[in-house]
């Protein structure tokens, strides 16, 4: 990927988003890093042939180095190197079975619960390797939230769904929980629709509402990163639009990695896009550039619809 065009093609929404969000998050190294463009780290990380990345950039949220992933004997990811800047949206695209969901699930060690899986390499979340043996996976997952393709409301009340994460981490005070529930639902743009029926079953909500409930439930644990696995693929266009608006809002406070099959969606919601093909990260860069001027042949073929 060529460096000069990087800066010129950055999405217009990107820099205001980053600047707005800076005061909201009290990361110690945030201030010094806002000037350092997140794209710089991306540029180097974007080369799929493991060129030395500039991952010391303080605004890097997730730093993936030489990750190989195996389901039993089957290798699903090959030497993935990638950095995700803080408070941005990175879309993962690629044909079915290319490893993008697998990759997403390595970021919160969700693959751990599948028997016979194995990871090589390092994934750093704010400079801490999440595959370090000393890492508490439970704590990690409350820092890295996840929203799934199918909405997965628990068969409980709306309130209990949202309060589930905080309760797990030991919040028992009713007033505190009420406050968290309201905040999360408001952040997920669902509060006005459900505020009068918080004790109703979450199963009674519509599909789009359920998905926003799941996002609210994830926000309730106060994560830094939100992983989304095709969050809108089962929704109608109106609900999809709401989810996309929501992602746009959430980017001010959270780092988001989203898997999507819908390239228009990737173009709409993300600042960066990574293209996966057959378990390899083929290309990564600012979304606009990747879509208008891909450097790899495979990327071009995919985004122009020649396969996948």
């Amino acid at each position: 990927m060529n460096q000069p065009s990087q800066n010129s093609t950055k999405p217009e929404s990107d820099s205001p988003g980053l600047k707005q969000s800076a005061p909201l998050e009290e990361t110690a190294n945030n201030d010094e890093s806002t000037n350092a463009s997140p794209k710089r780290s991306l540029v180097s990380g974007s080369n799929f042939d493991r060129s030395k990345p500039d991952n010391k950039n303080a605004s890097t949220m997730i730093d993936v180095r030489d990750v190989n992933f195996y389901y039993g004997d089957v290798q699903a990811l090959f030497n993935v190197n990638l950095t995700v800047p803080e408070k941005s949206v990175m879309a993962l695209i690629g044909p079915s079975g290319c490893g993008k969901s697998t990759f997403l699930r390595t970021l919160n060690r969700m693959n751990d619960i599948i028997d016979g899986t194995r990871v090589e390499g390092t994934i750093k979340l704010e400079n801490q390797n999440i595959y370090d043996p000393t890492i508490d996976v439970v704590a990690l997952r409350s820092r890295v939230g996840m929203v799934f393709q199918k909405s997965t409301p628990f068969p409980k009340s709306i309130f209990d769904n949202i309060a589930f994460g905080p309760r797990l981490s030991g919040t028992t005070s009713k007033s505190k929980l009420t406050e968290i529930v309201e905040r999360s639902l408001q952040q997920a743009a669902l509060w006005d629709e459900v505020k009068d029926r918080l004790s109703d079953s979450a199963m009674a909500l519509s599909g789009g509402q359920q998905q926003r409930l799941c996002i609210a439930r994830t926000l309730a644990t106060n994560p830094e990163v939100i992983l989304m696995d095709e969050p809108a693929s089962a929704l109608d266009p109106a609900s999809t639009a709401r989810i996309e608006d929501l992602i746009f809002e959430l980017r001010k406070q959270y780092t988001i990695v989203i898997v999507t099959h819908n390239m228009q969606q990737a173009a709409r919601v993300s600042q960066y896009t990574a293209f996966f093909y057959q378990g390899r990260l083929i290309e990564v860069g600012p979304t606009k550039e990747l879509f208008t001027n891909p450097t790899e042949k495979q990327t071009e073929d995919y985004i122009t619809g020649r396969f996948g």
């Binding site: 919160n108 969700m110 619960i113 028997d115 439970v138 704590a139 997952r141 409350s142 939230g145 996840m146 799934f148 199918k150 997965t152 628990f154 068969p155 409980k156 589930f164 994460g165 797990l168 981490s169 199963m203 799941c214 439930r217 994830t218 644990t221």
Partner: protein, 326 residues
């Protein structure tokens, strides 16, 4: 079909084969239907026998149990002494207490252990472990109940109950007692609860578990706060089925709990259940047609109603509270 162009010579043999195929299909369908109906017909037959002997006899020369003893007495009397020559009492209460006492003990033991086993199998066990344990549990279900009865009598009572409750705590533990029977019936229903509950636990979608893990849940959190509640209807249904099995359990109870009817709630005393009474009467030399003989049908009918009610309840629970996952 007939429009297919075929030479006239083979036409008749083809026609024959077609007819034969159709007939054979019909025949198979009929035989299968018969097999399916058989159990229903059996149930109807049993119900008929019970009703004609217990409630109302269509034969004018014979009388049913409730034509001689009022239902009111049956329900309210507190003594059950059909064998006595004089002072006969036909109150179902002592038998009911015996049954409930043993069922209660069995439920206390079998349901929690069975559910815990199901949670282990479905949430914790590696596939290989599960494949070893599940068949073993099912072997447990295949042991003849008479063996359980003797196990209670010659092992549970002398080596478990007596050392603990008699030697240590000072209760009097009779050799025939409800506790030992309840314990073995509890053990008997464990495989049933485990197997049925495991099926419903496993049918909880994986996405729900993943959502729980993604929110920072441990395996225990996910099992107890998501999977079990989500499968609750199925678990309750499996509980009810297991309880109705315990209510109907006969051989082990007859051997371990003795044949003494009592209204006592003390688990260390002998106590006769409805099923044990039926065994006792039908294996003895009770003359056919006597009131004692007929009382057997009244008890059997009560038992039938009890288990039927449990099964219907469990079906209803399953339907009513089933969460529909898309």
């Amino acid at each position: 079909m007939s429009s297919s162009p075929s030479p006239p010579s083979t036409d008749r043999s083809l026609e024959f084969r077609r007819t034969w195929t159709r007939t054979r299909e019909q025949l198979i369908k009929f035989v299968l239907l018969l097999c399916a109906l058989l159990s229903i017909l059996t149930t109807i037959g049993i119900l008929y026998v019970l009703l004609t002997n217990a409630v109302y006899s269509p034969n004018s020369k014979a009388t049913a149990f409730f034509q001689e003893v009022s239902i009111w007495d049956f329900v309210t009397d507190t003594k059950w002494t059909p064998q006595y020559a004089q002072d006969r009492h036909f109150g179902i209460l002592p038998l009911l207490i015996g049954t409930l006492k043993i069922t209660g003990i069995a439920a206390l033991i079998g349901l929690p252990i069975g559910l815990a086993g199901a949670v282990y199998l479905s949430e914790y066990a590696a596939p290989r472990t599960r494949n070893m344990i599940k068949p073993t549990l099912e072997v447990l279900a295949g042991i003849p109940t008479v063996v359980y009865g003797y196990f209670a009598l010659i092992f549970i009572t002398p080596y478990i109950l007596r050392p603990i409750f008699s030697d240590l705590l000072g209760f009097e533990v009779k050799i025939f007692n409800a506790a030992s029977a309840g314990i073995v019936v509890g053990i008997m229903i464990i495989p049933m609860v485990s197997s049925l509950s495991e099926d419903v636990l496993r049918s909880v979608p994986r996405s729900l578990r993943e959502a729980g893990y993604a929110l920072g849940g441990t395996r225990f959190d996910v099992s107890t706060k998501i999977v079990v509640p989500a499968a609750l209807s199925g678990i309750i249904a499996s509980f009810l089925l297991a309880i109705s099995r315990a209510v109907g359990e006969t051989m082990a109870v007859t051997i371990a709990a003795g044949l003494y009817t009592s209204n006592s709630l003390n688990p260390f005393e002998p106590s006769q259940t409805m099923t044990a009474y039926i065994v006792n009467v039908s294996s003895g030399d009770t003359p056919v047609g006597s009131i004692e003989y007929k009382s057997l049908y009244a008890v059997a009918f009560t038992l039938f109603l009890a288990t039927l009610a449990m099964n219907i309840l469990s079906q209803w629970v399953l339907k009513r509270f089933r969460e529909e996952y898309q």
